[in-house]
């Protein structure tokens, strides 16, 4: 893509939309994916449904945080300008807020209310982690071989010191041979 297919005003609109989504993205940017989908696919027809799903899968498979799927969607909508606008939009408000809250929390770390907050939220955090694993495993729920691969990953991660990267590599090879 060499030329940006959107007008300046449309780019600004895209930017503004992602600024708002940033503040709503409790649980990660992926939590706002349904609304992103509504905006870029259903309302604006900037990309297709398949492009949207492929963007998420691609970013998940690539190294780095999964939030990069936002950049891929932006790229598919409007090239590099689109990627810049969506990525800066999704990162700016939430990062600023996170910094501010963290500093406040650190200064009040030993107070009873902050300690109650962190100790109370810890079990929920772990429950959410297992949920994330469960939801990521959605496509595997229909294939016993994929489930076997998942169980292998859990055990290998707990029982060996192998880097997660190598385990994902095993998954890629097994999958490429059509065994997942």
């Amino acid at each position: 893509m060499t030329q940006c297919p959107l007008t300046g005003a449309e780019l600004m609109d895209l930017f503004a939309h992602f600024l708002v989504l940033s503040l709503l993205s409790v649980g990660g940017a992926i939590a706002t994916a349904p609304d992103m989908h509504r905006y870029v696919v259903t309302d604006r027809h900037w990309i297709t449904d398949e492009q949207f799903t492929a963007s998420v899968a691609l970013a998940q498979a690539a190294p780095g945080p999964n939030v990069l799927f936002v950049a891929v969607i932006g790229y598919n909508v409007a090239g590099l300008a689109g990627a810049a606008v969506t990525m800066i939009g999704i990162m700016l408000p939430c990062s600023a807020l996170a910094m501010w809250v963290t500093r406040w929390g650190r200064q009040h770390r030993e107070t009873r209310s902050v300690r109650a907050f962190t100790t109370g939220m810890t079990p929920l955090t772990l429950g959410l982690l297992v949920s994330t694993g469960w939801v990521l495993a959605d496509p595997a729920h229909h294939s016993w071989r994929a489930l076997l691969l998942l169980v292998f990953a859990v055990l290998a991660s707990l029982k060996t010191q192998l880097s997660p990267m190598w385990l994902v590599g095993v998954g890629a090879v097994v999958g490429a041979f059509g065994w997942a």
Binding site: A57, P63, P65, L124, L126, L136, G171, A176
Partner: protein, 194 residues
């Protein structure tokens, strides 16, 4: 690669410079296929020993309640904790810059290979492993619950309730955090009275 994680009971250390922060976060982001959290736990808690298991899970808890990508929030918090705003920026850059370039190159190439069965199969296999790694991370971090003032049975109950609501019943996350969250925090607040 010197691939020997240190003993989780060894003393903690801190990063010396923003360059070190950038390098470590870059290294862990580049290993994070299918999600960075499992790698982050391993590198920061087990290898670099910048954080104890308890520190890690506490910061993760805060980053999960805040809007934004958890792992990026967490990186910035850690950078900020050791080296202030510059540390936070170093962590953010390390986390995002190189992977951003890679993912955009892949996006540009993707159209050509999208329909190749090898690619689809590999993505499925990687997805299954990525899911397993996240679950294993949760198991590792759950050891920190032994020191939680709520007590293990209550922690397990709250964790299980979260899982059922979010993963099985697919209740929107915000709803779960703002109902179960205050309840858990209030119980912790009660237990912490002295």
């Amino acid at each position: 690669m010197a691939d020997v994680p240190t003993d989780p009971d060894q003393p903690l250390r801190r990063p010396a410079s923003c360059t070190e922060v950038f390098k470590v976060f870059n290294r862990l982001a580049m290993q994070g296929f299918g999600g960075v959290l499992p790698v982050a736990q391993r590198e920061l808690v087990e290898r670099e020993r910048w954080l104890s298991r308890e520190d890690f899970v506490e910061m993760l808890a805060v980053s999960q309640v805040l809007p934004g990508p958890n792992i990026v929030n967490l990186s910035m918090m850690i950078g900020d904790k050791f080296l202030g705003a510059r540390g936070a920026l170093a962590a953010l850059g390390g986390m995002l810059l190189a992977p951003l370039v890679i993912v955009l190159v892949l996006a540009a190439l993707y159209a050509e290979f999208a329909h190749h069965p090898l690619v689809g199969g590999a993505l499925r296999g990687m997805g299954a492993v990525a899911a397993g790694l996240v679950i294993a991370t949760a198991v590792k971090l759950s050891r920190s619950l032994r020191h939680n003032p709520l007590g293990v049975p209550l922690c397990v109950g709250l964790g299980a309730a979260t899982f059922v609501l979010v993963a099985i019943l697919r209740v929107p996350l915000v709803g779960v955090i703002f109902t179960l969250g205050p309840l858990a925090v209030f119980m912790a607040w009660w237990k912490l009275r002295s």
